[in-house]
């Protein structure tokens, strides 16, 4: 008997399930982010130290969270490809990389724009900022490596290996503020140290951003499945035109 993950591993089944889920997830993300923005700009008070600049935190923290979570998802997908040869694992890893890169870039930009008025500088080479910059370059490296190789199977495996090696950066980012003396503040304990008037808008924005990521990832995965079908059909068409089996044409 197949598990639900095995059933979902079938691309046709995935297209059916994701097609049903996608509009609901996208709508929930839009609603939560809209409500979150209302709370941020019309309800949440200024911070006693940061003033109104705290509003940057409501987009910086979710972006930083998604930068790490997306890389974790790529690592799990890469593991699924290399160990279990899951049919959708590589599709998931490939679709997630540009989205993760975008959120990492946003974490860096919003962090810099917060840092200038609060720290007096856009950038310092401290452990947290530098390790997140390395994560951004790692995302770019994954995309560059994949696009530099013509053979899709080889590109998938090499990219998966690089992604798994790159997971070493995740604990460094997470614990950098504890292991080293950084300008970046330590992790915030949301249940005790953040006032509810700020905690709830932040949590709502974080959930909204996460749902937005899921919607974009599902849509990008669907695009990738379609792209591979187009490629397979073109090879099939070329093979039938030349009187060759499809795999012979693909190998040319």
């Amino acid at each position: 008997m197949q598990s639900w993950t095995q059933r979902l591993a079938n691309p046709t089944r995935f297209m059916q399930v994701s097609g049903t889920l996608l509009p609901w997830v996208a709508a929930a993300a839009a609603a939560l982010i809209a409500y979150g923005l209302y709370l941020v700009f019309f309800v949440a008070p200024p911070d006693y130290q940061q003033g109104e600049t705290v509003k940057i935190m409501y987009i910086h923290v979710p972006s930083a969270w998604l930068a790490l979570m997306t890389y974790g998802l790529i690592a799990i997908s890469s593991f699924g490809l290399l160990v279990f040869r899951h049919p959708l694992a590589d599709v998931s890893a490939k679709a997630a990389a540009p989205i993760g890169a975008a959120f990492t870039l946003l974490a860096l930009i919003t962090g810099s724009l917060w840092g200038k008025p609060m720290w007096g500088t856009y950038w310092v080479w401290d452990a947290r900022l530098t390790s997140v910059l390395i994560l951004f370059f790692l995302y770019l490296g994954l995309m560059a490596l994949r696009s530099s190789l013509d053979d899709e199977g080889t590109a998938a495996k090499l990219t998966a290996v690089l992604a798994l090696v790159g997971t070493a950066i995740l604990p460094i980012i997470k614990f950098s503020v504890e292991w080293w003396n950084t300008l970046h503040q330590p992790s915030t304990n949301f249940t005790s140290t953040v006032d509810p008037s700020m905690r709830w808008p932040l949590l709502i924005m974080a959930v909204g951003f996460t749902l937005l990521f899921i919607a974009m990832h599902l849509a990008a995965m669907r695009n990738e499945v379609l792209r591979r079908r187009v490629k397979a059909l073109r090879l099939q068409e070329a093979a039938s035109r030349d009187g060759l089996p499809a795999h012979a044409s693909a190998a040319e």
């Binding site: 059916q16 003033g51 109104e52 972006s63 930009i109 008025p117 849509a219 695009n223 379609l226 068409e237």
Partner: protein, 59 residues
């Protein structure tokens, strides 16, 4: 809405998020439309997946 002396940094942050996420969504929608159009073109030429199932978006 008075965002204080650092309003420019706040607006710049939200603008960066809007432009980046908006661009990402536009790229995904555009890419999806391209793939669906390519599949429809192949179907019009009579190219079908093995087993004869249609190749459209309801796969």
């Amino acid at each position: 809405m008075d965002l204080g002396p650092h309003a420019v940094f706040i607006w710049a942050s939200y603008a960066a998020v809007t432009v980046t996420i908006g661009g990402l969504i536009a790229w995904i929608v555009y890419d999806g439309a391209n793939q669906r159009a390519a599949l429809a073109e192949l179907e019009d030429r009579g190219v079908r997946r093995r087993g004869g199932k249609p190749t459209g978006t309801s796969l």
